[in-house]
C-alpha cells in the first residue's frame, strides 16, 4: 500500500512540476508566436549571466518581477473573498491533470508504471466538473473587488463560460457514443486499433465536426480570443482581474494558461489518439513525446487563431453559443446515435 502511495506522490509531484514549467513556457511561446505572426521577433534577450539563451529565461524573469510587485488589497474589497478567489481559480485548473493518460506504461527498475496518475472510470466527468468549478473563481473575483468594471467583467465572463460549457459537454457526449466509456485511459487505448493512425477519433464520420464544435467551445470556455471580450485589455479595463496585482494576478494568468493546456490535452485524448503514434508499441517512451507534440500543436492553433481573428462583441458571442453551437451539438448527438444504430 505504501508503494502505491509513494508512486502516486511521485507522479503527482512530477506532473505538477512539469505543469508549472509548461505554463511558464507557454507564456513565452505565446509571446513568440504573437511576435512572429506580427512580423517581429519576440523576447530574445533574457539569458543567464553571460550565456546567451535567446530569451528562454524570460518567464523566470517575469516571475521574479511579479513576486516583488506591491500587493495591493483595495480598501473596500471583501478581503477574504478577494484573497481566496484566485486560489479558487488556480486549484481546479491544476487538478485536472491527474486523469489524463500521457503514455501506456514504461518499465523502470523492474517495476511497470502506468503513465497516468490515477485511473478513474469517470475520468471525463471529473474533468468537466473541475472546469465548472473554475467559474466560481471568476465570479468571486469580480464580485469581491467592489469595482464596477470587475463585477461586469466577472458576470459576463462567467455567463460566457457556462453557455459554452453546454456545447462542450454535449459534444463530449457525441464522443462517448463511440467510446462507450468515460475512462480516458480506455478511450485512448481504443484509438490504437488498426489501421494505425486512422483509428483516431477524428477520422470517424461525425466526430470530425464534433471536434470543431469542441475546439471552438473550449476556446470560449478558456476566455481566449476571439471570445475574450470580458478580459481584453482595451475593453472593460481588464474585466475581473482589474483590481488584482502581483502574485494574485499571476495566479489568474496561470489558471488561464492551465485551462488552455487542459482543453488541448482533452482534445488530443478524445480526438487525436492521445499518446498513440508510430512505433509506440515497441518503444513506450514515445507515448509522452507524441502526446506533447499533439498538445503543443493544438495550443499553437489556439494562439494562431488568437492573433488572426478579431474579437466577437459580447451579444454576438452569446448568440453564437446558444443559437448555433448548442443546436449543432445536439444535432450531432442525434446523427452519431443514428449512425451507430443503423450502420455500425
Amino acid at each position: 500500500m505504501t508503494n502505491l502511495l509513494l508512486e502516486w506522490v511521485i507522479k503527482t509531484i512530477v506532473i505538477l512540476l512539469i505543469l508549472v514549467t509548461a505554463v511558464a513556457y507557454v507564456t513565452l511561446m505565446e509571446r513568440k508566436v504573437m511576435a512572429f505572426i506580427q512580423m517581429r521577433v519576440g523576447p530574445n534577450r533574457v539569458g543567464l549571466g553571460k550565456f546567451k539563451l535567446w530569451g528562454l529565461m524570460q518567464p523566470l524573469a517575469d516571475g521574479v518581477k511579479m513576486i516583488f510587485k506591491e500587493d495591493i488589497v483595495p480598501l473596500q474589497a471583501n478581503r477574504w473573498l478577494y484573497i481566496f478567489a484566485p486560489a479558487l481559480s488556480l486549484i481546479p485548473a491544476l487538478m485536472t491533470f491527474i486523469v489524463i493518460p500521457y503514455g501506456s506504461e514504461i518499465t523502470v527498475f523492474g517495476r511497470t508504471i502506468q503513465l497516468h496518475v490515477t485511473r478513474m472510470n469517470v475520468g471525463l466527468l471529473y474533468v468537466l466538473a473541475l472546469t465548472s468549478v473554475g467559474v466560481y473563481g471568476i465570479v468571486l473575483a469580480g464580485w469581491s473587488s467592489n469595482n464596477k468594471y470587475s463585477l461586469l467583467g466577472g458576470l459576463r465572463s462567467s455567463a460566457q463560460m457556462i453557455s459554452y460549457e453546454l456545447a462542450l459537454g454535449l459534444s463530449i457526449v457525441s464522443v462517448l457514443l463511440y467510446a462507450g466509456t468515460l475512462d480516458l485511459v480506455y478511450i485512448v487505448e481504443q484509438q490504437s486499433v488498426w489501421p494505425g493512425h486512422m483509428g483516431w477519433n477524428i477520422f470517424r464520420f461525425p466526430l470530425m465536426f464534433v471536434f470543431i464544435i469542441f475546439y471552438i467551445a473550449s476556446l470560449a470556455e478558456t476566455n481566449r480570443t476571439p471570445f475574450d471580450l470580458p478580459e481584453a485589455d482595451s475593453e472593460l479595463v481588464a474585466g475581473y482581474h482589474t483590481e488584482y496585482s502581483s502574485m494574485k494576478f499571476v495566479m489568474f494568468q496561470m489558471a488561464e494558461y492551465l485551462n488552455l493546456i487542459t482543453a488541448s490535452s482533452i482534445a488530443t485524448t478524445l480526438f487525436f489518439g492521445g499518446w498513440n503514434g508510430p512505433f509506440v508499441g515497441r518503444l513506450p517512451i514515445l507515448g509522452p513525446v507524441y502526446f506533447t507534440i499533439k498538445v503543443l500543436a493544438l495550443i499553437f492553433l489556439a494562439m494562431w487563431i488568437r492573433y488572426t481573428v478579431p474579437r466577437f462583441r459580447y451579444d454576438q458571442l452569446m448568440r453564437f453559443g446558444w443559437k448555433f453551437l448548442l443546436p449543432a451539438s445536439i444535432v450531432n448527438i442525434i446523427i452519431s446515435s443514428t449512425v451507430i444504430l443503423f450502420w455500425r
Binding site: L5, L16, I67, K69, P86, A87, T118, N147, S163, G180
Partner: protein
C-alpha cells in the same frame, strides 16, 4: 474507490502551492499604501456610486437556462455510455430501437424548450 486518493493528494499539494504563492508575495513585496492606490479603479477619475448596484436580470436567466440544459446533459451521459453495448448486443433484439427512440423523444422535448427560450428573446440583446 481507492483510485480517488490522488485527487485528495493533488488537492492538498495545489492548496499548499497557492498558499505558498500568496505568502511569498506578502513577505517579498513592498507595502506602501497610499489613498490613490487603495481606491477602486475607474480610469483615473473618482469612482461614481458603488459597485453594488442592481445588475441585469439577463445573467440570471442565462444561468437558469444553463441549468436546464446541463440537466439534460446529465441524463444524456449515462445513456451515451451504454448505447453502443446495447445496440451491439444480441440480447436486446429490437428493444434497441426503443432505447434509441426514448432518448430521441427526450431530446425533442428539450429542443422544443430551446425553441421556446429562443422565441421568448432570452438569447437576445445583451447576448
Amino acid at each position: 474507490m481507492v483510485n480517488y486518493v490522488p485527487v485528495l493528494l493533488i488537492l492538498i499539494i495545489a492548496v499548499g502551492m497557492a498558499a505558498v504563492i500568496l505568502v511569498l508575495s506578502r513577505f517579498a513585496a513592498k507595502n506602501r499604501p497610499t489613498r490613490e492606490k487603495l481606491m477602486p479603479y475607474e480610469c483615473g477619475v473618482e469612482p461614481v456610486g458603488t459597485a453594488r448596484e442592481r445588475q441585469s436580470v439577463k445573467f440570471y436567466l442565462v444561468a437558469m437556462a444553463f441549468l436546464l440544459f446541463d440537466i439534460e446533459a446529465v441524463f444524456l451521459v449515462p445513456w451515451a455510455v451504454v448505447f453502443r453495448n446495447v445496440v451491439r448486443s444480441e440480447v436486446y433484439g429490437s428493444l434497441k430501437y426503443v432505447f434509441y427512440g426514448e432518448m430521441m423523444v427526450f431530446m425533442v422535448v428539450l429542443f422544443v424548450g430551446l425553441a421556446y427560450v429562443w422565441r421568448k428573446g432570452i438569447l437576445e440583446w445583451n447576448r
